[in-house]
Structures are given as structure tokens and as C-alpha cells.
Amino acid sequence: MENRGITFGYGFLSQESSFDVQFSLIEFDGSHSYFRAYLVGLLNTILVSVIGIIFATIIGVVVGIARLSNNYLINRTAAVYVEFFRNIPLLLQIFFWYFAALRALPLPQDTEAMFGVFFLTIKGFFVPAFVWNNLDIFIYSLMAAIISIIVIRIYAKKKQENYGIQTPVLSISLGLLIILPLLSFLVGGVNASVEIPVIKQLSQSGYTYEGGIKLPPELISLALALSLYTATFIAECVRAGVQGVSKGQKEAAASIGLTPNQVLKLVVMPQALRIIIPPTTNQYLNLTKNSSLAAAIAYPDLVLVFAGTALMQTGRAIEIVSITMLTYLSLSISISIFMNWYNKKIAIKEK
């Protein structure tokens, strides 16, 4: 490296970045450091991964169960979806959703409001934002509700094990979740107003929206492409899991008088999950790593902001690529550790 006149060091991370980023979860502009640019990229990667994982799981479970349906139309539709989406390269799908979305979405001035407050345009999805007073009190009340629900659940489980008495945990939990935050509004002085996006003219033909929260079309199409693609693999995991539980288990459960819902919840799912979780973990990891394709459609993720713009502006290829690799490695390992913990929790506990 010395031969080629390249210096090595991580000192550049504290330098002023002098470039701007389109969309970030934390405040960022060019006067912030390269390290903060790294955080912006990392948070955006995590954001799109989390959204992707949530939707992929929901779609995957629904489609996986639909494939097992006895209804011919439903299970064929699900099968076509799975075969179609898992056999087309992801990058093509991302391009398709992005440019298809850009072609299909209306210009800001042509859009029609959904429910009067949501505006879906080519420049992004503009949604109302809440402007809070005393947000912290609201969060405390929410946390208090969640903690008390956990305590009640533990207590209820003990009661059932010791005395065989069932407690209506679900209704109590829901009640707590509504009443405590409501109290914070009434007594705690919390209030929230809604900021609705307003159209703004930029030029004779150009418009945009101001106020509220803006979700860029890049985020929407990337999350859509990632979840639709990964959901096909998760659907297959779910199908494999449910089919992996032997028929005799269901029949035996039915024969001791459990309702179909109880059969699913108490007998089939606990066994199916053991088969579903490990391969699904792989899919979550894939989704997170695949989110790096974002750079192709201008979503400012870690690869675009840090391994893209920052690398170019500083020329520190080795340092930045090494940091980026380590970051993806840690992200993947964190997901695996969590999923392994969950897997262990639901595994058969032999006594």
C-alpha cells in the first residue's frame, strides 16, 4: 500500500462528511461526521430489514397455510405466487417495483387523498405525523402496561399449573394496554395533535408535500420487493413445518376432545415451529443481506451511504469496506443469536 501512495487509518471517521442524505432516521446533514453518516446508513438498513422481515413473515405464514388449503383456487393461487416470485432474480424485482411504481404513481398535484390525510405520490408516501406533548409520560405508561401484562401472565400460568384455574389473560392484557395510556392522556397531561401534509407548489409544473412524515418511494419499493421475494421461501418453510407434524397427532388431539383451534395452537404449531424456525432464520439473514441491493434504486442504506458516497469522497476503500463487512457480519450474527435463543425456547424440553 505504501508503494502505491495509499495511507491507512480510521481517522477520517471524525471528519466532516459534506454530503447530504435523502432519508435518515437521525438528524443528518453535511456538517456531521462520516461516523454519523455510517449510523444513518446502518439505521436505514435496519429499518428496511425489520419492515421486510415483518411483512415477509406475515405474507409467508398466510401463503404457506394457503398452500395447504383444501380449496383448489386458494392453494393454486398460493403455489403460482411462490413459484413466480422465488424464481425471478431479486435485483430485477427491485427494479420492477421501483420503476413500475414510479410509472404508476401520480404526480403530487394529481394524487387523491386517502381518508383525507394520506397522499401516495411519485415523490413518496406522505402520512400525517403526530406532534406530542409530554411524550415521555405516554411511553412510561405504555411500558408500565407491558410490564404488568408480563407479571400477570406469569402469575396466571402458575395459578393454572397449581390450581387448574384459567385466567382470561387476553382480555385483561388488552384492557391494561388501553386503560393505562388512556389515563396518561386524561391525568398525565399528554396530548397529541396531528400534522397533515399540505401540498406545496415548487414551480409552474412541480409540486411536493410539506409537513407530516414522508416515506420515500425507494423505501416502499425496496421493502415490497424484499418481503414478496423472501415470503415465498418462508411460505415453503411453513408448509414443510405443518406437513412435518404427523397426522396421528391431530387425530389423537381431536380424540381427546380439543377444538380445532386448540389442536392447532396446542398440538400442531408447537411441533411445526421446531421445523419452521431454523430455515426461516436463514431467510431473515438473506433478507438483511439482500437489502444491500438498495444502492441500485437510491435508497440510502449502509452500502449506498457509507460504502458508496463516503468511500468515494474519502477514497478509503480498505477501511470502509472492512467496516461494512464487519457490520453486516454483526447484524447477521445478532439475528442468528436471537433466533437460536427462540429456537431453544420452543425446542422439546426433555426432562
Binding site: 502505491r4 495509499i6 447530504d20 415548487l202 414551480s203 441500485a296 437510491a298 449506498l304 458508496g308 468515494m312
Partner: protein, 346 residues
Amino acid sequence: MFKYLKQLTSLVAMVAVLFTFTTETMAAKKSKTLKNTQKKGFVRCGVSQGLPGFSNADAAGNWTGVDVDVCRAVAAAVLGDANKVKFTPLSAKERFTALTSNEIDILSRNTTWTLSRDADIGLTFVGVNFYDGQGFMVRKNSGYSSVNDFKNGISACTNLGTTTELNMRDFFNSKGISYEPVTFEKADEVVAAYDAGRCDTYTTDKSGLAAQRIKLSSPDDHIVLPETISKEPLGPVVRQGDSVWEDIVRWSLNTMIEAEEYGVTSANADSMKTSDNPAVKRLVGAEGELGAALGLDNDWSLRIIKQVGNYGESYKRNIADTGILPDRGPNELWTKGGILYVPPAR
């Protein structure tokens, strides 16, 4: 008699050894890049992924453009054939790494010469083959006639990892306008997104705007605003640390510009050998030993002019006749009101 013969033999052997030794030191003096290029038989040149007028491949894979011509000139000088070039299309992000990691030997890819690039990352800029500046393209029906009409909330599409990103921030900051930067890795995606209406303006070097405008669905509905917000001297780049190679590339470019200045073209280069002007004679190799200083033969510059043409020919062929920028603007010779001025070849 026998004794003399023995002495003669040893003398011949000594001379032979000495001769080998001197030729070897001469070769060692040559640059590593030059040696490798001559061994391989082609010049490894990094270009853009398709920018009409600068470096663009046609359907048959033939590269043309003013940036391409710099590499062709070096090939003509070093290898005797302007076609002995291997082109590697590079994204803005990859370009410097490709050069420093020895994938290519010349980077001729509309690259802006800046202090940090020149000094910090193992590169050396050898000159300027196009004086450019950053501008903005907008839709005609927007009614914008100047950058002063821009309003808060404007969205701007551009390429990732270029000086454009930095200039854009400086510009909008100085005007106090809040803006939304939308940056893509490839120029084609920038054009597609701007065309679809994702952005209100497309900003990059003005030559790039002129070239990319052709790719829009209806080019006539768009205009480039008159203001230029930055200096963008574009030029070829080589690795730091091989000054002979650096000189070869620099003087190949300078030869093209000087040839235009003295009216030497690909058509009349041979006849110029008998010119009365010593500067012209030096340029076509009829006087002086300029090639030797670069480790080349004396016809190196004649080959450049004959095979590639002078700068004016290259500009006309690639940029003016293709309708990209018919007006040469600052890229005119200093003698004709432009700023192209190169040191004399002597």
C-alpha cells in the same frame, strides 16, 4: 598470434558484457507500467459505462469519445497501433480502486481533478482534456429559467460518489434552500428516475447533461439552466509513482492539443515533415530526439496525430458532430479565445 587471438576474444566478451549491462540499465530506467504494456501488447484503459461524446460503446463494441481518444493516443505512441486498447467500463464508485489496484493503467473517465483526489489516494492527474462545470436540467414547463427560482423542498437526482454530490450541497446551502438528494449508482437509473418525475431537477456536469438529455423520452421538453455552479476540469489519471508513464500519458494528450494549435491534422501530418516551422517538425518527429526522453521512438507523436487526430478533430468527431455540445466554449484553443493551453513540446 595465438596470444593476440585470446586477448581479442576476451575483449569482445568484455564489450559484449558491458553492452548487455548498459541495455539492461536502459530498460530498467523505463517504467514498470510501460514495460508491462509493451509485454501485454495493449493499453489497459478505464472508461465510463456509457457517456456519449466521452466514452461510449456502439452495438459492435467499438468505443468512441474524447476520453477514449486519450487512451488510443497512448496506444499509438507506445505500441504503434491506436486500436490496441482494452477498455474497462467502470462506475464512479469503482474507478479509483481499479486504478490503484492495478486493474487498469489509465483512467480516462470524465474525472474531475481535485486536490484530495490528486494528493490523498495514490493517484496523479496528468492534465485536462475537457473543461466542464456542473449545471442543472429542468422541465421546460416548470417555468424555471434560473437556479434562483428553486424553492425549498426541491428534489434533485444525481450520480452517487461524484463531486456533484458535494457541489450540490455547497450550492443549496449557500442559497439557503432545503433539498432532497436522490443518488443512484448508474447514470441510466438517474435518467429514468428524473424522466418519470421522481425529481424536479437533474444535476451533473453540463457535458453530461447534454449527453444524457438524448436518452430522455422527449428531450425537447427539458432545458439546461444557464448557471454553472462549479469548476470541473476533467482529465486522465494514472497511478502515483511511475513518472515515466505519467509523462507519456501527459504528453500524448498535449501532443493532440499542440497539433491542433499548429494546424497539423491526421490528413496532413506526413507532409508537415518538410514544414519550415521547427515546432511543427518536432511535433511530427522530423527534428529533435523527443521520443527518447520518454523511452519511445521518434515517430510516437506522428503516430498519435495520424491515427487519432488532433484535439480539434477528436472534439468535432465525438462531441460537436454528435450534437452534444456544438459550441466548444472554454474547450477552444487559447489562440482562439478558449483556455486550452499546453506547454511546448521541445
